[in-house]
Amino acid sequence: MDYLNALVALANFVIVPGLAYGAQLAIGALGVTMIYGVLRFSNFAHGDTMAFGTAITILFTWLFQSWGISLGPLPTALLALPFGIAGCALLVLGTDRVVYKFYRAQKAKPVILVIVSLGVMFVMNGIVRFVIGVRDINFADGERFIISARDFKEMTGLDEGLAIKTTQMITVVVAIIVMALLFYFLNKTRTGKSMRAFSDNEDLALLSGINPERVVLVTWLIVAALATTAGVLYGLDKSFKAFTYFQLLLPIFASAIVGGIGNPVGAIAGGFTIAFAEVTITYAWKKVLTYVMPESLEPDGLVQLLSTDYKFAVSFAILIIVLLFKPTGLFKGQSI
């Protein structure tokens, strides 16, 4: 029996990756939830917005690398991030001007906006591919690991290794900071509150002297920042590929909704719920159990509840069960 090794194995294969992935989803979900909360539609173009912001960041990263600028152990992309955000902000503001503004003036139903955002998604899809191509791009540099599995084993003498990547650490830290900032902004500052007021009752917001254009502007700026940050962190941890970012949309939506859409705390909770659901449910406990059980009882099967084929099915099943018991998500979200 060897609890320490069991624990390390569990941490290495479940807890650490779950945390990092959860944080990536959470920041993505925050962006979706912001748009939903203030502008009242589910933005299908969010994945591609993330891709665009990331693409710009990558271009700047390459530029900096060619100038020989770096951040030491940290990825250079962090330095390029503000430029990515700025580029992304220009794009979403332009989109709002050209596309969404019209429907806002029309007071179009949310579902129309959803479909419009689908159109925007196609267009952004094209733009991203034009800007940076369709290939898989690896733009992480700097120190890859805070501690690698091998080093850990050497250090501790355990059989199991525990790897923690720099990007995982950065992601989790950034997620926490971003969530705190956003929560403070929305609930405590005047601009934040005016955004919630606007989303609640646009006409009355007008009658209170709230400038709708400003609310929309601030929302998109925040969304651009969130989307780019999420995209870059994800890309650093894994890699950048336009098509994958589109696919990210699904778990991100699931996170936002299971947490309670329109609610920033919910987005965070949702991100981690989805991430851990994916990682844990189909986990094969054989490895962990081998350490914990007496030798005679060691499992010969994989001790897996369900095969990983059902990873998505199970995480969605969990999502549905959560919704059945909490019909507006973990943290009471809005519903139109």
């Binding site: 294969f13 599995a149 790897a163 894994k238 696919q247 991430a275 990682v279």
Partner: protein, 374 residues
């Protein structure tokens, strides 16, 4: 005459990143032939591209329909993914009597499909690759492996074929877990695979899809140190992405030590694309075979050329390599026999699929290189 050949590949969709090199390979052959002016008394060849999307049978068959009925293509080089290839074959090619040569559809199921002698492929069926993989692993004394495969007919078919032959040879597959391509995170799969354990992780996926994601995740978590890469995974992308992290890993992919392969890489580089990309060489060969068969038939019509594909591809006859298409055409025009070897040492067997020459690769110093041929 201007002969048109359809190039149906997944220009958009999950394989969009390997497609350009495949199309470029096929078009390279066509350009070569057009320039030579040797085809059917000076005919030129034009490629007409269409998007197979790789996954949407409806869109793919519609696109193919347009190619045949509107563009009037004589034959089709494609499609890429086994699923849409089957759909186009039975719904479009068969009714219209159009010849299709796929460079990359490797599903074993396609060997049995009803094709009226219209369908060929320049890649081997995965059933064959399973055996090759077993042989390579056995030779290295590896008996316990974990397998992960991309969840489509290719991945599943290959994983099944491999597991069948590996276990028959006395090996153990500790776990065989599917992964979906293009997903956000593969920690769950890697967790399960690590739990299953094994000396080597066999990754039957795509190099610029989930396959690389799995490898990344497995290395980062320290779950596996050595990997086995079948055809879909072998590409320079591996060197770029992982470099020395893969030292000691092995793999196999269609190919020979024929001069053909290196000649093709040279041509590709000159033409400005990466010839080592997956199925780029096979695409070149597919297109070349179509044109050589036309010459042999003395007609660009599918109905005529379908009977000559096997002839030009196989012995006897003068061996023809990439860049030598003009020579092949001339020989054929002179009534002589040829044996097209091409970029992949192609040999068509059975119902018209590549016999499958494989090369065994090994990683050292951050790059892979061929160490053996089978």
């Amino acid at each position: 005459e201007d002969v048109k050949i359809g190039v149906i590949l997944g220009f958009t969709g999950p394989l969009e990143s390997i497609t350009p090199a495949m199309a470029a390979g096929a078009e390279l052959a066509m350009a070569e032939v057009s320039e030579s002016g040797a085809l059917l008394d000076g005919s030129t060849v034009t490629a007409v591209r269409a998007d197979s999307t790789c996954i949407d049978a409806g869109a793919a068959t519609t696109a193919a329909e347009r190619l045949i009925t509107s563009e009037g293509v004589s034959a089709i080089m494609g499609a890429d993914c086994s699923g849409v290839t089957g759909a186009i074959l039975s719904n479009v090619a068969l009714p219209n009597g159009t010849v299709m040569i796929s460079p990359s559809a490797t599903s074993p199921g396609l060997s049995e499909v009803e094709d009226n002698g219209l369908f060929f492929r320049t890649s081997p069926s995965d059933a064959r690759q399973g055996e090759i993989m077993t042989a390579i692993l056995n030779d290295r004394g590896i008996t316990d492996v974990a397998v992960t495969y991309t969840n489509n007919d290719y991945g599943k078919g290959l994983a099944d074929a491999f597991a069948g032959s590996f276990e028959a040879a006395g090996g153990t597959v500790t776990i065989s877990a599917a992964h979906e391509d293009g997903k956000a995170d593969y920690s769950a799969e890697v967790g399960a695979l690590a739990s299953g354990g094994g000396d080597v992780l066999v990754v039957a996926g795509y190099v610029d899809q989930g396959g690389s994601g799995i490898v990344r995740s497995a290395i980062d978590a320290g779950a596996f140190d050595t990997f086995y890469f079948p055809d879909g995974m072998v590409g320079t992308k591996l060197n770029e992405n992982f470099g020395s992290e893969l030292n000691g890993s092995i793999g196999s992919y269609p190919g020979t030590d024929s001069e053909g392969a290196s000649m093709f890489f040279g041509l590709a580089t000159a033409a400005g694309f990466d010839g080592t990309g997956s199925y780029s060489a096979e695409s070149y060969d597919a297109a070349a075979l179509l044109m050589l068969a036309m010459q042999a038939a003395g007609s660009s019509a599918s109905a005529d050329l379908k009977d000559h594909v096997m002839d030009v591809a196989n012995a006897p006859g003068t061996e023809i390599f990439p860049g030598e298409l003009a020579k092949g055409l001339e020989l054929l025009a002179a009534g002589e026999e040829i044996n097209y070897v091409g970029a992949t040492a192609i040999e068509l067997i059975g119902a018209g699929e590549s016999a499958g020459n494989f090369q065994e690769i090994e990683f050292a110093d951050g790059v892979y290189s061929t160490v053996n041929f089978r």
